[in-house]
């Protein structure tokens, strides 16, 4: 712990809040994981910050990389830390993400700008989503999952077949096994639209015209000032996402040129048609 304290004090590349968080977090870890985390923090040689959305990414030296956690899943949400700072009465949270066994992203959210200079942090609780010490082999990104024959289009929901009459559906991926399906669903902290859930029960996404509809394994989180969005589909610079923590299943249309959603829909089918009809994409 003393070593970590010295490292964090010495290195000005961490903002005070980041430093306080990284000093306090190891106390919540078992010995082995704590040692690896301290070595990783020590090896950070540059930090990328997007202050508008509160995303902080940690970069290590490529020549002397630190040891990795045994869980080397391509991307994993490691834990959520609930904390308070002296100057605010609210309880805040930060999500920590791992990439290939390295701590990579600290996702503070838009509150980051207001609390980044806080040098004191009180952790209320830490919720772990993945066991970093459980060995998971490093996986490579898969560009295209196993595909099913075109005849499997019959299995798709009615709304999907209707959309498929206007735009060709290809590369329909096989659905997840029930165990993985439920595990993935639990990792997504929001209410997904009912018609999208209907779809992922029979297939794990597909390509439609020049757009892609992701299955549960392909969903990723994107942070914007208004919160985190789970990306369900994309076409060029346009994306369909659902906001973390929402209960109503609304689907938002996002574009990488804008910092906030441009519009929203009550069903995934409506949103997908909108995405496919946009003349300014891809």
């Amino acid at each position: 712990m003393w070593l970590l304290f010295k490292v964090l004090r010495r290195r000005s590349r961490f903002a005070p809040l980041e430093r306080a968080l990284l000093q306090a977090l190891p106390a919540y870890l078992p010995e082995e994981a704590r040692i690896i985390l301290v070595q990783q923090i020590e090896a950070v040689n540059s930090v990328y910050r997007d202050r508008e959305i509160g995303e902080v990414n940690l970069y290590f030296s490529k020549k002397n990389p630190p040891p990795r956690f045994p869980n080397q899943r391509l991307e994993a949400r490691w834990c959520t830390v609930y904390y308070r700072v002296p100057s605010k009465i609210d309880l805040f949270k930060v999500h920590l993400y791992l990439v290939n066994g390295y701590l990579f992203t600290l996702a503070f959210g838009k509150i980051y700008r207001q609390v980044a200079s806080e040098s004191e942090i009180h952790i209320e609780r830490v919720v772990f989503h993945a066991d970093v010490m459980q060995p998971v082999p490093e996986s490579l990104p898969l560009p295209v999952r196993e595909e099913r024959a075109a005849s499997s289009l019959d299995h798709l929901p009615r709304w999907c077949i209707d959309v498929g009459r206007q735009w060709p559906i290809e590369q329909v991926s096989v659905p997840l096994l029930p165990e993985e399906f439920h595990q993935r669903l639990q990792e997504i902290e929001t209410t997904l639209p009912a018609d999208y859930l209907e779809l992922v029960q029979v297939c794990e996404g597909f390509r439609i015209a020049d757009a892609v509809v992701w299955g549960l394994t392909g969903i990723r989180v994107v942070y914007l000032p208004s919160g985190a969005y789970y990306i369900l589909a994309e076409r060029g610079g346009g994306y369909l996402g659902v906001r973390e923590g929402q209960q109503d299943g609304q689907v938002y249309y996002l574009h990488h040129e804008y910092s906030e959603p441009l519009t929203h829909f009550s069903t995934f089918a409506e949103a997908l048609e909108y995405l496919l009809r946009r003349s300014d994409l891809p």
């Binding site: 959305i53 990414n57 391509l74 990723r220 040129e257």
Partner: protein, 197 residues
């Protein structure tokens, strides 16, 4: 400085230099020599001198200067057109890259001034003066908004450029091409002329 002297002479209402009073053939000879010398970066003047026919050109004449400025405009436009052609060639290309949907990375249009700046006229925001076509990975590296939408594992191995460098990278090809063309033409105009006997 010579050009400045001539300019002040013209504005004062005095007669232009004697060399500008020649017949139209002389004037056109001087004009096209200035134009050609700028485009060729002085190579045509060197050839004329080699052939011994350079005496027909009056480097101090207004027509020669006019030809030089026309050459400068020409090289600027050619640079801009080359940049525009680069965009046209890249547009629609794709290549394999697992970081992108279904493993295909496309060439994307990156805005120099962001499209969300609605105070800019719409015709400008999506024109060749504000768009640069580049691969999706390069777009993400030089545009923090695009970077947000990339996958975590890709971000871990690609740190984005600093903002100032991103702005330089996003400069539309037509604008940077015109800039290079103008610099070329300007340098050619600034070349010292041969001393008259």
């Amino acid at each position: 400085m010579v050009a400045g002297c001539e300019c002040s002479t013209f504005t004062s209402g005095a007669q232009p230099p004697e060399s500008d009073n020649g017949d139209w053939l002389d004037k056109l000879t001087n004009f096209f020599a200035g134009w050609g010398d700028t485009l060729s970066f002085g190579a045509t003047g060197w050839i004329r001198r080699g052939l011994g026919v350079d005496t027909v050109v009056d480097y101090e004449s207004g027509w020669y200067k006019g030809g030089e400025w026309t050459g400068l405009a020409h090289s600027t436009l050619m640079g801009g057109a080359t940049g525009w052609a680069r965009n046209s060639v890249l547009r629609g290309l794709s290549r394999a890259n697992p970081a992108f949907p279904k493993g295909r990375e496309f060439v994307e249009a990156s805005h120099w001034f962001p499209a969300r700046y609605h105070w800019l006229p719409a015709w400008f925001r999506n024109s060749a003066l504000n768009l640069k076509y580049m691969w999706g990975t390069q777009h993400a590296l030089c545009d923090p908004y695009r970077y947000r939408f990339m996958r975590g594992w890709w971000k871990r191995v690609h740190k984005p450029y600093p903002n100032w460098l991103g702005i330089i990278y996003r400069t539309p090809s037509s604008v940077s091409g015109a800039g290079v063309g103008a610099a070329y033409g300007g340098a050619a105009v600034a070349l010292p002329h041969p001393q008259l006997p």
